[in-house]
Structure formats: C-alpha cells, structure tokens
Symmetry: D3
Subunit: 284 residues, 6 copies
C-alpha cells in the first residue's frame, strides 16, 4: 500500500477496461491465434516527465494476474524522445486488450506531470509552491493529483470534505467575508484550518481579524498581489497566502515573486495535452 | 431515453460526486445556513460550442431530485463570450456541492465540441467526415463521443467489441495484412465489416484482394495519401478510406482533399483544452 | 483470457452462488464434520455434447480458490451415457455447496450444445451455417452463446449494440423497408453492415436497392425461401441471406437447401432441455 | 411490497437490460426518429398459463419510469391462442429496447407456469401437492419459483440456507442416515424441521427412529413408493412423505396415488419450453 | 469455507476500511517513512472471552494480502488481563491503517462473547439453552451471532426469512393466536416449524390446538413461566418453550429453572460493552 | 441534502434491510393478509435523548416510497418514559418488515445521544467540549457521529483522511514526538492542523517547539493534566488541549476543570447501551 490505494486502483482499471472492451476484443479474436505470446515496448516520442507507470502495469495485471511490466524509468523522471519507457511480455490478446487504456493513462498522466514540471521550474528559487486544484477530469482525481506530485507540484484539497476553502460564492451567500469566516471558526472541526478568498483590501482585513489561517488571492494582477501580500504580512505575520486565477507559464513567476506561499494552477489538470507515447507489439 | 443512457449517466454522476464530496462539503456546512436558497448562472467567458448541458443538469438532479437546470442554448450551439448558458435555483448547499463537477464536465465537453467544430469547418466542402478515436479519457468515453457529435463530428468505434479494425500490432502478430484479413473474414460475425491499416502499396493490394471493406491510411503524408486513394479506388471502387495519424487543424484539409472518406483525429479528445465557463451563485 | 471474460464469469458465479447459498448451507453445517474432505464425480446419464466445464470449475474455485476440477473431456465433445465427465476433490462442504449450481450450469449448457449439434448435423453438406438468436435466458447470454459454439453453431448478435438488424417492428415505425434501410445507411457507423427483414418481394427489391448487406427471410416456407433466394442472388450477387422463424429439426434442412447462407434458430436457447448429469460425492 | 421484492426485481431487470443493450440499440438509433411514439401488444400464439406480467412491466418501467403496461389477464390465468395479453404505449425506442427481454421473461415464465399447471391437473383429487426444486436457471430462481406458484404448484427450498434436506451425498459423508439425522437434530436451529432421503427400508426405519420430520423417497417406482408410505405411516403417523426423481406427466399420478404428501418435479424449471408469444409494435 | 462466508467477510471488511480510511491515512503518510516495517501485539487489558480473531486477521489481509496474524488463543477461549492475544508484523502503514478497525471488531465481538458466557454460566445445569435475538447492530449480524456462539450461546433466527415466529404484532393483525397459527400452518413451506408468542393461558391453549411447534413466553415472571410450562407440557409434551423479555444476569436462572428449553436474551448484542484491548506497534 | 447524505443513508438502509429480510418475511407472508393496512407507534419506555428518527423513517420509505413517519419529537430532544415518539401507517407487511431495523437504529442511536448528553451535562460551565472518537461500530460511523451531535457533543475525525493526529504508535515508529511533528509539518497539505499525543513534559516541549497545533493528553490523571495545561499555555498560548483515555461520567468534570479545551470519550459510541423503545402495531 502506497500513496495510491491499490484496491481502488484495480477497481478503477477494471471499470476502464470494461468501457473499452465491452463484450470482448473482436478484432483480436478474429485474427490472432489463441494463446499466442508477444512482447511490447512503450516508447517516448517526445521529451516528457513520466507518470502513470503503476497504472499502466495495473491495466495488464487486471487482464492477466501473471503479467508484469518492466519499467526502465520511474514516475517523475524526465526522458528524452526515443527512450524506451517500459516493456512487457505475455499473451498477445492481453497486450492488445490493454494497449489503448495503458496508453491513454500514461499519455494523460505524463502530460500533467510534464506541464507541472514546467510550472515548478518557472518559480524555482522563489520559495513558492505550485499546487493543483479540483479542476480534474471526473473520475480521475486521485491519479491526476498523483501526476501533479510526480511533476514536482503539491496537492490542494482532494475533495470538498478535506479542507475548508471559503470562495466568492460562499461569501455571497454568507453575507460577507467576516461573517463567513466567523461562522466557520465556530462550527468546523478543531483539526481544520480555514482558507478564504479575498479580492478587496477590506475583505483581507476582515478575514485576518476573524482569524483566517490562509488567504486566497484570486484573479489579481501580480502588482495587486504584491500589495495584498505586504498588507497581510503586516496584519498577520503567520498567515499563508495563495494566488490563483489566470496563472500561465508566462506570468507564474511574477506571482511567485510577489511573495505568496502557494500558486494554484487549474491548467495543470484541465488543459494538459497528452504526451506522444507509442506501444509496439512483436511476436514473443 | 436518448442517445445517452440516462441510468448509466446518473450512476456515473453519482460516482463523480462521491469523488468530490467524500463525507460532505465541510465548507458549506461550516458557513452557510441550512436550507438557504440560492440561484446560479453558467456564463461563457470565451466563444465556444456548448456540450454537456444534460450532464450538468444531471449533477444537480442527482443531489436533489427536485432541482432543474434551465438552459438558454442547446448542445451543439455556438455561443459568444458573455452568453449566459443556463441558470438554476434551489438549495444553496446543492448548488455549492455540484458547482465544481458541473463546471468540470461542461468545460471539458465544450472544449471537445469546440475543437471538433474547428476540424469540421476546416474540411467543409470536401465530403470528408471527421471522426474521433478511442483516445478518450478513461471513464468518460460515452460523454466525450457525445461531445464530438455535438461538435459536428461522427463516432468511430465505441470499444473493442463493436467493430473490427486490424492495426499494425495485429498485422505484426498475424503475419501480414493478407493473412490477418483472411482470418478475420472467416471468423467474425456476419454483421461486421473489416477495416485494416495499410502503410505500403503491397499491403493495400493484399487487403483489397482478401476483401477488406475499409482501409486505414495511417501516418502518410497528404501526397502519399492521394496516391493510395487513387490505387484503392482503381482496385475496389466501393472500398472506404480513412486517414489517421498526426492530423492537425493545419493539415486536415490536405488529407480531406486527397480524397479519403473519413479523417480520424485523436486530438479531439486527448488534447482539447477546457473552455472558460464560470458559475456565479447569489442568494435566492 | 479466452473467449469468456474470466473476471465477468467469476462475478456471475458469485452472484449465482449467493442466490443458492443465502446465509449458508445449513444442512451441511448440521450434519457434516468441519474440514472433512471428499471427492466427487460428474457422470453423464445420457449421450450428449458437453458444454460448461469451465463454468463448473469456476463454481468450486469461487468457493475455495485452491479447488480444481479435473475434466476428462473438453467442451464440444460428444460423450455416451455412463461417461465420467470430470472429478474434483477438496473440502466436503465446498463440494456440497457447489453441487447444485455446477449441475444446473452443466446440464443447461450441455443441453444447448447437444441441440445445436443436432441442427448442425441436419444441414451438413449444404453450406448453411446454424446461428443462435437473442432468445436466451436473461443473465446467461454469454454462457449460452458459448454453448452454441461448443455445439458447432455460430453466434448472431450479442446485444442490440453490436449489429444492425432491422425487423418488422422497426419497418412498421420507419414507414417501410426502403425508408428504414436508407436512414440506417446514412447514420450508422462505417464499420457496421445492415441486415433487414423482408417478407414480400417488393420489400426485397427495396432493401437491395438501398444497399442492404444481409436479408432476413422470416417465417417463409422453404419454397418461398427458395424463390426469394433466386431473386436476391439475381439482384445482388453478394448479398447474404438468413432464414428464421419456425425452424425445427424436421424442416431445417429444407431451408438450408433453399440456398440461404445462415439459418437462425431460437429453440437452441429458448427450448433446450437440461441434460441428465449426476454428481456423486464420496468421503475423500 | 408483495411476494417478489420490488427493489431486487428492478436491480435484476437493469442487469438483464444491460446485457442486451450494451452501449445502446444501434438499429433503432439508426432508423427510427427520436421521440417517435408507438404502441405495442403482447399476443399469445398458443394456449398457456400466463406468468411474468409484473416482470415484463418492470422491463419497460426500468427504461422509462413513466411507461406502464396494461394487462388484460393476471398471472396464473389460462388463455387461449390469439388472446391479447397486454398492451403498452410510449416512446418507440423504449418499446424496441425492452421488447426482447420482456418476451424472453414472459415466454419462459409462462412456460413454467403452463407445465406446472399440467402436473397439478394430473394429480387432482389425490391430495398430493406439486412442488419445485432448486433445478432453476442460475440467477432466475425467485422469478421461476414465482411462476411455479402461478401454475398452482408450491415451493420447496429457496436456497441451501432455508431448510434442512439431507440427501444421498450428505448421507455418504455422514456415515449413514441415522448418524446424519441424529447430528442434524442436535445442531440445527430450533425452528427448522429435518427432511432426509431414504432409499431402503432400513434407512427409513433409522430416519424415523432419530426423529426425522419428512422423508424424501427418491427414484423409487410407484409400487416401492406405496410400500414405503405404508411402512412410514405405521412407524410415524405424523411424518410427511415426498416423492422425487424421474417424475413425468405420465407417471406423476401413480406417485400421488401411492399416498405421498408432496411430489417434487425438477422438470418444472429445468426443462420447460418457452411459450410462443409475440409483441407487435405500431406507430402510436 | 467455514461458518462465516469468507468472501462476504472480506467484502464487509473492505467497506469498513473504506469508511475509516476515506482517501487514505494522512497522518501516517505525513510522518512515517514509506515501506517501514513494524510489528504489533494485541493485549487483553481485562479478563474476557475472545471473539473476532478471524475478522481482525481479515482487516490486515485486506490491506495487504501477504500479511498474517499469529493468534495465541482461539475464539471462545477465556483469557486473563495481560494476555497477549495475537501479534502481526508487516508494513508500518498497513498496521496503522488497520489498527482501529481491528480493535473495534475485536473489542465489540469479545464483549458479546464475554457477556454470553456469563449468561451461559448462570444457567449451567438447568438444561436451558441461551439464544440470541435479531437485536444486533445493523450490518454486523453474522459477526455478532458468531460471537454469541463463541461465548457458548446458540443462534435464533438470522433474519425474517429463515424461521416463522409469530409475535404480538402479527397476532394483533391476524385476529388472534389461533387464527395466526392456523393460517401459517396452511401456507408456510413444509420444512419450517412454527413458533408463536403466548402471554395468556387462553392463547397457549389455542396455539397448541392449532399445532404450534414452539411457544414463546414473553415478558412473564419466572412464576408465571413455570405455570405456563406445566400447562404446555400437559397439553403437548413435545412442544418447545422459550422465555424472553427482560432477562438479566440476575433473573436468567429463575427462568431456566422454570423449565423452558430456551432463553433468548437481547442484551447479548444490544447492550454488550466493548472489552478493553490495546494494540501496540514497534519498529519491526 | 442535510448533514447526512441522503443517498448514502438509503444505500445503507437497503443493505441493513437485506441483512434482516433475506428472501422475505416468511412469517408475515404466512399469517397476514396481503395488502392489509396497519398503524404503528414508537413508544419510549424510559427517559432518553432521541436520535435516529430520520434513519427510522428511511427504513419504511425504503420498503415503500409512499410511507412516512410522523415524529412528535426531534432528534436531540429529551423525552420521559411513556412518550409516543412517532407514528406511521401503511401496509402491514411494510411495518412488520421494517420494525426490527427501525428499532435497532433508534435504540442504539438514542443510547449514544443519551450518554453523550450526560457527559455534556457533567462538564457544564467549564467551557470544555465533549468530542467522540473513531471507536464506532464498523459501518455505522456517520450515524453514530450524528447521534453524538444530537446529544450535544461534537465530532473528532470522521476517518484517517480528514485530520492529522499523531499517536503513540506513530511516535514510536517516527523516532519521537519532535521528529514526527517536524516531518508532518513539512509534508501535510496546507489546510490541515497537526495534533499530537504527549505523555511526558519533554514531549510536550518538543511538540510545541515544532509547531504542533493541538496536544492530546492521553491517559493522564486530572492532576497531571492540570500541570500539562499550565505548561502548555505558558509555552504556546494558542495551542489547543484535549484529554482522552479512561474518561468516565465520574471523572470527566475533573478533566474539564483541569483546563483542557476538549475531552474525547470513546465510551460514547463503544459502550452505550440500547435505549428501551417499543413499536406497537394495530390494524389500520
């Protein structure tokens, strides 16, 4: 048992395989001899940070408990174009049945890890931490957040139940930043900190006064961010500060240099493109 | 019951909500009054083709069977920036619990529909049809293929069980194009056509000889494609032809003009970026 | 992984065992010593074609992962009365808990295989192929279609999603054979052929004109069938022809000799009787 | 809530529909207009006892919660050939999607009810009760036992957990009838009676001596049965007697007249043939 | 396969672990090195009868299929304070993830076994049997009834489907004891006995007359019980008698001495307190 | 949607009903007329704090979606012996099928609420808050934690994933309090506080130095607790303090008066006894 729950991973992989296989792979049944053996290799076709090897292995192991994947790199490692990432051998029908899903996972997760690595590199030396968001593909959150880690980022909330983050919509309904934070302090469990979005100086002051632990500076310019950071540090030296909204590879360093502790980037998961990886099978 | 199976959609939405909600939305529990009512609006922040309204509605209906979404556009419609796409009202906690998932679905599916529409526009007048692939996000295939339709594309196979497509890996294992097609013709059910990948003239000839119904021209240049098309039409006037591999918005028209019937584009689903859509909630 | 998906088979067997075992086998708990060992033999009590050995083995393996079935014949083999089909040994309570389900499966699947073999024998030499229908027992379709194969038949559609077959009810709703085939040609995926039921000459002509790939000749006499076959071959030499409706062991050869390619027989699955097989247990 | 658990029935029907529909009815999608309405009628094509109307209704209601079935007869009623059993109207795609499953259920369950009714009629006036066995199709036990009731029979055990029946295999393992009954009396819950198979006079005596409540006379001739009945009544006037094994419509009355209380008939469920019922759809 | 169905046990344990682990043990992830090994010991902190070792072992085996529990006692054994009950070693994170659930099960089940043993001891020599009720914690019935057995008690019904027990509410609805028993005799399966609650002499007479097999004497004093026992034995020597209602460790012997065969005690399961057991982990 | 997730509650109730009903309530089927109507009343037989009315209502609503429970009190309210808590009417078989489960839930949850209320009363005026633990019955955690709230207590962690609590076993494996807290501060998400168990002054100093947010004072006497509280307040005025271990109704006030913020009490859930509540049914 590691960071990813194995049982849950296998259940997910089974559901994903069912989606692709339906009643079975009729092409392979029609043109490949039963019990033929084969070997396959995953090949990086462009430079990338790898993520998802464990998931890819689980694809084949779910189809045939005997089958293993021999990986030549580890999740989080950077590879250049042409690198053989992993190989596997076993029954030809198992390789053909798992090919597409294994690739879909590896390509997407490596895409996320690669993009994350670029953001992390862009803020190097500033002390700011790149974190993800809940803007993940429905059903893939654990895997996508794992890929963010592989890329060098850190994880924000995994769901609505494991952290308090009071955003604009809550504030509108609660009647203001101060009222929202105050109510949250009274009723939330003693192990949870409270983060609140502030977009005006007055809100920042209210939030700090009511004891917010973390301030989310959403959709500000880097300059506004710097100003808010100075004010917040003055009022509450221990408060944590997070930037979010419209963060790109181009502007992320400006936010980091404005002095925030964290920069959260939705694009890590909602707009990463798939990396180009191929899977070639030969008679084994 | 329409194209999407309602029961299956609701089961999926439930699983997606469970992923995000875990034991419940502790922020809302902490700072919003129970039974408060609210209204929310989905707003397009950039031009796009909409897809996923039914899925977004299912999110709220799963949380509260009474709640409905009033849509101002239909899936497949193009909207400009600033357009209010839909609105809903009900319990504040339901709106807050469903917000992120509804957005994640709408943003991704509209991203796919928008990209598909661009590819469809690029081949307008050529007679070629844009089709998708199985390079979808695991677990979202039905929804993503629905978004391709909303964008004006058509669907290739839904899974390995509903069509015969003999690709390079099958050919390598079966001992050649001719052998593979021959074996498939003998054993596949009488309702299925046979598509086979050909990358050399010799393979094209073998495939046609053995009675393949559709030829997949993978990773050829537009010029090679045109040459293969001429040869195929000569040998078998009724055969269908499909281009795939490395198709971009820039080169798709060249492939279409080479005379193929279908162009399949993996990027429609594996590399679409999320559209920018916001959800604003006000006390109701 | 073979033709039957092992994971799916084990899930089904588990559900079937739960149906029979409920909270446990109270007779065995009441009168057999715990951990007693035993051996059992399956015995054919009449001549039959065997099918379902893998399913029977799965019953015992689901109850106790160590337990195996040693089969003395293979699925699809004909045996005479008195033949010991298979034996197994292990814990007495496992044998007693699995006995009824293993027999129910073996007896029914062998019944289907046996009846199929009789139909196949009846058309020997005519070139016609015996195929099944969707008239299977709900929940057992994959196993029953497997038994048809074991008997020497071939499979028609596995479900409504893996083949286009336009029948009388579709035609009534679509406004005629021609209209139905035309619409289907326009909208169905490019990998699917189109089969349509025709019961009048006019319909046959319309179907062929619109490009139907296969014609289903339903509820015709052998003589009418022969006439339709001649007409169809004249109009479209490549079209496939299938007879169905009221096919019995007595009349099946007449249909085959009328020249159709396929004869589909609902009775293979909806009216096969269970074969007589016993399971005798002795102290082990 | 009636005899059949509604929730369980709907879960089963959903699974059965999934088996048949897979990713959806591609024929109907291809050739019928969306939202077209239609009406359908179930017609008996031969005389039969009806069973399964509730299950057939559940098929359509599972596809579309609004849709209802108007039945013109009740389960357990005899109808002649030509009788319209029920009708329904609604969306055409719902009728077409549910047609096959509804028929498969109605035809099989009516087959069981009809055969049961024949056995019941054959023993009329003798006082003997016709009961079923666990020789049911895996997964359909509750529905099949319901059909036996509709036919006028009564139900034996529903599973291994709701009754004690010591059979030949238990006796072989327990070391004799007497030992088996004795152990069972000591350890089974106080609410359960004990039934035991006896095939020799000596066994009958042992069983009665140890206090068995019911004796199963398996695979005896009617004459042997009569002799065993006399002996048993002499030794234990209150003991119940059940005949089983090789019971047919031809010989069942002889067993009943031999004086047993119950005759159990495996053929009711393992070898009933499907009744001929059609479903005709018209534009609605 | 023993008394507890292993597959069902593992499914339950998985659900229980999911309840406690959610998305994972964030404390252990945060402060323990990955792959650290450890050993743990379960220690009885007070005298008790042990129950639940198999369940505790299943907790760790579910988390890591390699991990085993070495037990130093057996379920049903009495231990004194200070006894090391079992030990296990493996990955530190597995021990920490399973600790609480293993303890919650062991502590509760041992609590039930211990209390049951006290009741059993209290009636020693009287011939009366202590039985449980359906007053178990929802979801834990099989495990709790197992613990009752470990404590030396016997099990009453496992659910509403495995025994007929006509209680006050049934009698009120059926129109009296006699009517209820009579109807039950006519319609219940032939393998079931009939138990009925009687609280007045007249009811007892009616019940016996209609052939009830067991009488439940509910909420009587020991003296009334003795009187009812005498009357029942006179009218029907073979009838079984059960006391229930308000039975405590103080008065249970009086009921047993009144001559009943069974005493059922709800407190065994509904009011047992958890035994004090600790689990200490050391680096392994 | 409230504090308890309705969908999850209904799923749980369904599973609990399946546990009790199995294949159905054979007593009611045997002796009550189908479709008979009835009314039932829940009656408190001793003083108590009520909890679980929503769960009890869900039991009947799961059996029959029409059926409702009219409650005369609210969860969290104190009632005296003799109070009619709620009534319901509907089909007799629904009332009888749900009776035991509804009672099992109401009796246990009210037991927890009642015991919690006693602990809350015992610390009145001290400012200390009574909180629960994870020592809940497996499978019932959400319901039991709800009952603690109804009793006036507050909830500690819901699972291992929603709060960091470093206990003795973690410390032993991490190599000391300081090392454990330090590592946790570095790696845990920014929204989580860190609580750590301290049992020696030196540990308390280390914990505070490394920035622990909350200290758990486990298994100390009230006097030791007071001393630790003074020291902690001196070193870190903002730190929260929690007592746990061996807390009883007799000593809880002493701990509260020692100055801690929270007292956690395992007995609230692991050793509450069921309250005495009856359900009487009359013909309706």
């Amino acid at each position: 048992m590691g960071w990813l729950d194995e049982g849950a991973l296998f259940n997910q992989i089974s559901a994903f395989l069912a989606e692709d296989l339906g009643r079975g792979d009729i092409t392979t049944q029609a043109c490949i001899k039963r019990n033929a053996s084969a070997r396959g290799r995953f090949l990086a076709k462009e430079p990338m940070v790898i993520a998802g090897l464990e998931a890819a292995e689980a694809v084949f192991a779910t189809l045939d408990s005997q089958q293993q994947l021999e990986a030549f790199v580890s999740d989080g490692e950077e590879v250049s174009a042409g690198k053989v990432i992993a190989r596997t051998n076993g029954f030809a029908d198992v390789l053909l049945a798992g090919e597409r899903l294994a690739l879909n996972l590896l390509q997407r997760l490596s895409g996320i890890a690669t993009l994350t690595r670029q953001f992390v590199a862009a803020v190097e030396g500033t002390g700011a931490v790149i974190v993800d968001t809940r803007k993940t593909v429905p059903g893939l959150r654990m895997l996508e957040k794992y890929a963010v880690q592989a890329g060098g980022g850190r994880n924000h909330r995994f769901g609505l139940d494991d952290g308090v983050l009071i955003k604009d919509n809550h504030i509108a309904l609660a009647g203001g930043v101060g009222a929202a934070v105050k109510r949250a302090k009274e009723s939330v469990g003693h192990l949870h900190k409270i983060e609140v979005e502030v977009s005006r100086e007055r809100d920042l002051r209210e939030a700090v006064e009511e004891g917010a632990d973390i301030l989310l500076l959403d959709n500000l310019t880097p300059e506004e961010t710097a100003r808010f950071v100075r004010l917040a540090r003055e009022l509450a030296p221990a408060v944590l500060l997070e930037s979010s909204g419209g963060i790109t590879l181009e502007n992320v360093r400006a936010y980091a240099e404005a002095g925030v502790n964290l920069v959260s980037v939705g694009a890590l998961t909602h707009s990463a493109r798939a990396m180009d990886i191929s899977f070639k099978i030969q008679p084994g």
